[in-house]
Symmetry: C2
Amino acid sequence: MSQSATVNNRIHPIGGVPGGHSGHCELCPTRTVCTARDLQREVLGQLAERIDTTRVLQRNDYLFREGDTSDSCYVVRSGVFKSVTVTTAGEEYVTRFHYPGELVGLTGQMTGRHLDSTLALTASTACRISVRDFGRLFALGADRALLRLIAEREAGDRNLEINLRQSSAEARIAGFLVLLMRRQERLGYAPTTLPLPMSRTDLANHLGLTLECLSRLLGKWKRAGVIGPERTSMEIFKPGEIATLAYHLS
Amino acid sequence: MSQSATVNNRIHPIGGVPGGHSGHCELCPTRTVCTARDLQREVLGQLAERIDTTRVLQRNDYLFREGDTSDSCYVVRSGVFKSVTVTTAGEEYVTRFHYPGELVGLTGQMTGRHLDSTLALTASTACRISVRDFGRLFALGADRALLRLIAEREAGDRNLEINLRQSSAEARIAGFLVLLMRRQERLGYAPTTLPLPMSRTDLANHLGLTLECLSRLLGKWKRAGVIGPERTSMEIFKPGEIATLAYHLS
DNA sequence: CGTCGCTTTGATAGCCTTCAAGAAATGTGG
DNA sequence: CCACATTTCTTGAAGGCTATCAAAGCGACG
């Protein structure tokens, strides 16, 4: 718990005391990195009062569950979330980890029910945006910005897929770390300190590897002095080596 | 060439003689399956005359190339396309195969330049839609439909990712075939006949496998009577067996 | 201090990759 | 229409990497 809080503070744009802020986007600390940043410039100001008060979640609290009726999306304000899909065969797949500024829950808008469960990995906060308000945004002329938002998501998915196509386990792990470093940098934090509040099991699952294989390779990198010894907050000592191993990203 | 034409006819909603149709969506043979079908019901009729005349492409003709300035998206009317991304290390990745009714080129709207090259695998046709017209669509109140469109794309990506996470080569190939069968069914064709105009190399690349491994397993399935012997048009004799091997999809 | 969950480490086996060669299909020129 | 060159695909054998099974640390918590 105390360790979770530490990790939390490090990645919390709004610090360790969530809840003391209004829902207004102008005051949001993730303003400059939020996926909706383009929208804000144009019309989000008019909708600020319609954004739901920031939702506060503790570790393992669900933002929504698979099958829930869906009438809204979320933007992560602080903390880290994970999305899990259960296949027809009953297997669990960790499809995404969500960091501050990222949009969550859009897939639920296809059928009106969420296709995955999303829950907090640390004490976290998220903004709820009703799809009705999304519609208002478009009508107000934010269409160009919206296209960029979609395109950005898709480009990210593309990189994730390329990373999964890479057969080598080292390349996959390194690729994941590089993508995470980019996200940290975008948030204005040192890209060499990565908050990893998820379990090794979740991480391995997300990368399509076994937990033993992941553990072994991370151990190898630790002994080689490429990364730090911490488990929940990984220090990247030699970013160049990681980038070399992840040579397959665009 | 004659074989390509055969494959072509089989998947061509508009037959083997493209070009004789107006660009109007009301007359498009993919109307009921097009990714924009929701849009049509609401407002696309008003925009029909703005959709560019169907573009006709021959095998290996590029729809667009990586780096090209992008001011439009495309919807496949007939044929099959592939999208290729080149990484910084110079490696090629086949990120997508596009069948009739599917939207292509959205990632280019992030930076205004296309992030991948997309080319025809058979004689094909595609509709060009300027992003300006997309904006008009949103303004006309098609926001709800658009959200569904985005969500649908993302859900598809999710399945593709899950398929790639699966470590077993058999499961990956089977999963790809199942997803392709669903697409064929959506188009109103027999799901057991799959047009595969792409090379084995492209297919293996897309699945994150080596071409030898793919060839070996397909050969095994052929000998077991699970699939037909054809190369460019695969007949699925035992869909149940394939579905069992692809147990990981949702 | 002992239990429980998570992580690390070890040994073996299986699958896929790699390297290599041959077969089939495709394309070209005579 | 055939012969030849080129590309694409199939098949084979050996080796490496990851999965699997198993057990031992390590940390959290009561």
